[in-house]
C-alpha cells in the first residue's frame, strides 16, 4: 500500500482510498451517480451539505446506499 493511501470499509468490503479524501472525493473516486444516494460514516449519517468537508479516515466504515426495488 502506498503511504498516501488508507484502508477503509465501504459497504462491508475492504477498500483502499487516498489519505485525506473527503466524502465528496470518495464518491467521485467511485464514480457514484449521486441521485438518490446517501452516505453513513461509522453509522452516522453524512448529509449532502457536508460531503465536501467530511474527511474519510483509516478504518472508517462507510455505507453508500441507494434505492432498489422494494415493497
Amino acid at each position: 500500500m502506498n503511504e498516501s493511501n488508507q484502508k477503509i470499509s465501504i459497504n462491508g468490503e475492504p477498500q483502499t482510498v487516498p489519505m485525506g479524501i473527503t466524502v465528496e472525493g470518495l464518491l467521485d473516486h467511485l464514480e457514484v451517480d449521486r441521485r438518490h444516494v446517501a452516505v453513513e460514516q461509522n453509522r452516522k449519517l453524512v448529509v449532502k451539505a457536508d460531503y465536501s468537508e467530511v474527511q474519510v479516515e483509516a478504518g472508517d466504515f462507510v455505507e453508500i446506499v441507494t434505492f432498489v426495488g422494494g415493497g
Binding site: R35, V39, F67
Partner: protein, 267 residues
C-alpha cells in the same frame, strides 16, 4: 346536473397529496421494463422503494432509478428487512437523505417467516422518527390497539396488514380493520397480503383510505394486466364504499315490477 358523481377529494397524508389511492411496491418484478409498464398502468402516484447498499460498478442505466420517473411518482422509502428499532431508524435516516422527502414507510419486523411487524420495536421507532420530523406511514399488524397507539404517537398514516406480506390471502380479519377504521383520525392504508382485485375492492369497501401492494402485481403471471386490474379494483372499491351499498338480506327483493303481469289475464 343532479346525477353528477361528487368528486372524491384527494388523499392527504401529512403534507403530501395523492390522486390515486393505490400505492405500489417496486420489488420482485422479473425485469425493470415490466415494472415500469406495470407502474404506469397502475395509475399510482406513490411507489415504495427499499434502501440498500449501492452496487459499485453497476453499468449506467441499469438501476431502479433509471426506470422510475421521479417527477411522476412520490418515492416512499421503506425500512424493509429491519428487525429492530435501531436498524429501522438508521435506514429511515438514510432513506430520507437519499430521497429528499420526509416520508417513510416504517417496518420493524418480528420474524422472517411471517414478516409481521414487531409491535414493541415499531412503537419505539415510530416515536423517534416522528420526533425527527418524518412523515411516518407505519406498517403494523391488524391489531387495533397498536394502530391507535401509533396514531397517538403522531404517525401520519397507519398501515395494517391484511395478511402476511406476499401471502395473497387478502384481508383475513375484516373486523379488526373495521375497528381500526372507526377509531382512526389519520388515513388507514391496508398494506400487504393482497392477492387479487377483489381483495383490493373489499379493503376499500371497508373504508380503507388506500391500499399498498407489491407482490400481487409483481408476481402475477401478467403483471401489467394485474396492475390494470388493481387500479380498477381500487377505484371500484372506493366508489362502492362511497355509494352506500344495499343492505344484505336473507330473502329476495324483486327487480322487476309485480304489477302489470299478463299472467292474470283472462282469468
Amino acid at each position: 346536473m343532479s346525477n353528477a358523481i361528487p368528486t372524491d377529494p384527494p388523499l392527504e397524508i401529512g403534507s403530501y397529496t395523492f390522486q390515486s389511492r393505490l400505492f405500489v411496491g417496486t420489488g420482485k418484478y422479473q425485469d425493470l421494463e415490466v415494472m415500469k409498464a406495470a407502474l404506469e398502468v397502475s395509475g399510482t402516484d406513490c411507489v415504495t422503494v427499499a434502501v440498500r447498499r449501492l452496487s459499485l460498478g453497476l453499468p449506467e442505466g441499469q438501476s431502479l432509478l433509471d426506470y422510475l420517473d421521479t417527477d411522476r411518482y412520490q418515492l416512499l422509502p421503506n425500512t424493509a428487512g429491519c428487525f429492530n428499532a435501531e436498524d429501522a431508524i438508521r435506514t429511515a435516516m438514510l432513506g430520507r437523505e437519499a430521497g429528499m422527502s420526509e416520508m417513510v414507510k416504517l417496518e420493524v419486523l418480528g420474524d422472517k417467516d411471517t414478516l409481521l411487524p414487531d409491535p414493541v420495536g415499531t412503537v419505539e421507532a415510530a416515536a423517534f422518527l416522528v420526533k425527527e420530523g418524518f412523515t411516518v406511514l407505519c406498517y403494523t399488524s391488524d391489531d387495533p390497539v397498536i394502530a391507535q397507539r401509533l396514531e397517538g404517537l403522531g404517525c401520519a398514516a397507519v398501515m395494517p396488514a391484511g395478511a402476511p406480506i406476499g401471502s395473497g390471502q387478502g384481508v383475513l380479519n375484516p373486523s379488526n380493520i373495521q375497528i381500526i377504521l372507526q377509531r382512526a383520525k389519520v388515513p388507514v392504508l391496508v398494506d400487504a397480503g393482497v392477492g387479487c382485485a377483489s381483495d383490493v375492492s373489499f379493503a376499500m369497501e371497508l373504508g380503507a383510505d388506500a391500499v399498498l401492494l407489491n407482490t400481487g402485481i409483481a408476481l402475477a403471471q401478467d403483471p401489467v394486466r394485474m396492475a390494470r386490474a388493481m387500479r380498477a379494483a381500487c377505484q371500484a372499491g372506493r366508489d362502492s364504499y362511497l355509494s352506500g351499498r344495499i343492505e344484505k338480506r336473507l330473502y329476495a327483493s324483486a327487480s322487476s315490477p309485480t304489477e302489470g303481469m299478463i299472467v292474470v289475464a283472462g282469468e
